[in-house]
Amino acid sequence: MNVLSQIINGLHIGSIYALVALGYSMVYGIIKLINFAHGEIIMVGAYAVYVMLVLVGTPLWIAVLVSLLFCACMGMLIERVAYRRLRNKNAPRISLLITAIGVSIFLQNLAQTIFSSSGKSFPNVMPQGSIRLGDAEISALTLITLATAAVLMIGLQLLVSKTKMGKAMRAVSEDAGAAKLMGINTNVTITWTFAIGSALASIAALLYSSAYPLVTPYMGSTLGLKAFIAAVLGGIGSVPGAMLGGFLLGIAETLAKGYISSVVADAIVFGILILVLLIRPAGLLGRNVKEKV
């Protein structure tokens, strides 16, 4: 494997990290919560596609649509049941975090109870074949992944910067109290943020499971952790930042895996987080925000 194909592989997994990182980043931007349950949404999405394709036997596009809607509803449900009550009571931040981790473990174990802890093999639904680019070979799956991620991220950037909904999101993340006074329904805006983030996670789930075709109850936790690191690396709360962070992290990880070892690769990813926090806590594209008293 030469460097070029390693980098292409890195971009492949990196764009999946980026899609997941967007969900973390948007939620963190708007309610300052590390939504630990976001990783589990990926797992739910992967199982949803699996159930539709293998157990029900629908065509791919229906399976994707169902998984998308299911994940979006799941995200909204989690926000409604687990977070809103605490948010409105102005509970300490740590209570929200503990609820988030609780939801994450709950979903993991629920999936384990329903589908057993042994993995399900994901059907091969993506077109085969590859094209050559110099020394490197790019598979069709890599191209589809990159293209899907790019389209979704451009779409999200447009949504956040051009539409009324996006304006409301930015307003709530800037100052929720003031946004409320300006007539923005903050609860609805937050619910939509969760829905969009979870829908992106369901697409990430499809792309990830196509590359690594084993669906397990625990697949979301490491993927989620890495995606969160990508979000911090790029600058949490920023859409282009999540993209950049995802790509960089994916490339760093594949290079470490290819040239050192896969155990070290995990440690390196983690070391990147420590370095970012030490050197530039706001992330590469993040703004430094002054604390207001």
């Binding site: 590390i34 605490l86 740590i94 503990i98 981790i101 490491t222």
Partner: protein, 328 residues
């Protein structure tokens, strides 16, 4: 004031001593068999873990999701030490515990320095990552025995040693919380900005509490290693960290006595409910969510259960009744 405090300390000390003597007599007379003796030692270890996590999560207000990771570091350090040392039994255990605690403290400092300088919840994600990475490393490193782990670790841990260390841990953390340092830590939890403007060096105190918490997790790990005799990385998984967190949350974030009670209950409960072991984490996580939604500070909140407090309350109750009678 001073006198009252001294008296309450004395009562508590006497009670702990009586409890120890009673348990010890029951063990040596065989009323408590080997199986329950083992569980009692686990209870003691879990008490150390829960109370030390409460320092970081309850009193400092930082969510730590890798307490089992710090415990693993301490356990492996102590195991490697006792496997290779020729010191007499008791001394080897003490040195092993101190070493285990210190190594865990060093790891916590490496994680704490980048995360605790900043506001925000980075410590949660860093400790979560640490817990996972340490397991992967223990699985692949040669000197820790890989996935098979270490075995044949000398069984130095006895019931008295667990009991004494647990009591000492509780005392030290209690004394810390009620000292000037502890008040600083609690002030940071209540309002970091206000604490900083009152002249409290927030990073220093956050680090202090976090490192102290990890130190005791390492000590608990050392006791565990020399009790169980075999170590495998799989034991120190994320679920174990969550179990310890649940002890803290059930007992009340900021209540030491609450943590002790919860640690006792949550160690015995799984033994009694073996049939439910498949659903254990499902039930635990549901309880975790429910407690947070309906009582965000945990079941006992920040209240401590104490005999002196009970006596005071009783006196007040009597006084009220007397007054009521006189009035009528």
């Amino acid at each position: 004031m001073m006198k009252k405090k001294g008296k309450s300390y004395l009562i508590n000390f006497a009670l702990v001593a009586v409890l120890f003597v009673v348990l010890q007599v029951l063990i040596s007379s065989g009323v408590i068999n080997r199986y329950y003796n083992g569980i009692l030692m686990l209870v003691g270890i879990n008490v150390i873990l829960a109370v030390s996590l409460n320092l970081a999560t309850g009193f400092l207000g930082q969510l730590v999701l890798g307490h089992a990771g710090f415990m693993a570091v301490g356990a492996y350090t102590a195991a490697l030490f006792t496997l290779n040392s020729s010191l007499p039994e008791g001394l080897a255990l003490v040195v092993g515990m101190v070493l285990g605690g210190l190594v865990a403290a060093v790891f916590s400092a490496v994680i704490g320095i980048p995360a605790l300088r900043l506001r925000g919840d980075y410590i949660a994600i860093l400790t979560l990552g640490f817990g996972e990475i340490i397991r992967v490393l223990l699985n692949s490193l040669e000197f820790t025995g890989g996935a098979k782990g270490l075995n044949g670790i000398p069984a130095y841990t006895t019931f008295p040693s667990v009991f004494i260390v647990a009591a000492l841990t509780v005392y030290i953390i209690y004394a810390f919380i009620n000292s000037r340092h502890g008040r600083a830590v609690i002030a940071i939890r209540e309002d970091e900005i206000a604490a900083e403007s009152a002249g409290i060096h927030t990073t220093y105190y956050k680090m202090l509490a976090f490192i102290l918490s990890a130190f005791f997790a390492g000590v608990a790990g050392a006791l565990y290693a020399n009790y169980i005799g075999v170590l495998a990385p799989a034991k120190f998984d994320f679920n174990y960290s969550v179990e310890i967190l649940l002890m803290v949350v059930m007992g009340g974030m900021g209540s030491i006595t609450g943590s002790i009670v919860a640690a006792v209950v949550l160690t015995f409960l799984p033994e009694l409910l073996r049939g439910f072991s498949d659903y254990r984490m499902l039930i635990y996580s549901a309880i975790l969510i429910a407690i947070m939604l309906f009582k965000p500070t945990g079941l006992l909140g920040q209240q401590e259960f104490s005999l002196a407090g009970l006596a005071k309350r009783g006196k007040r109750w009597f006084a009220k009744r007397k007054k009521g009678k006189e009035g009528a």
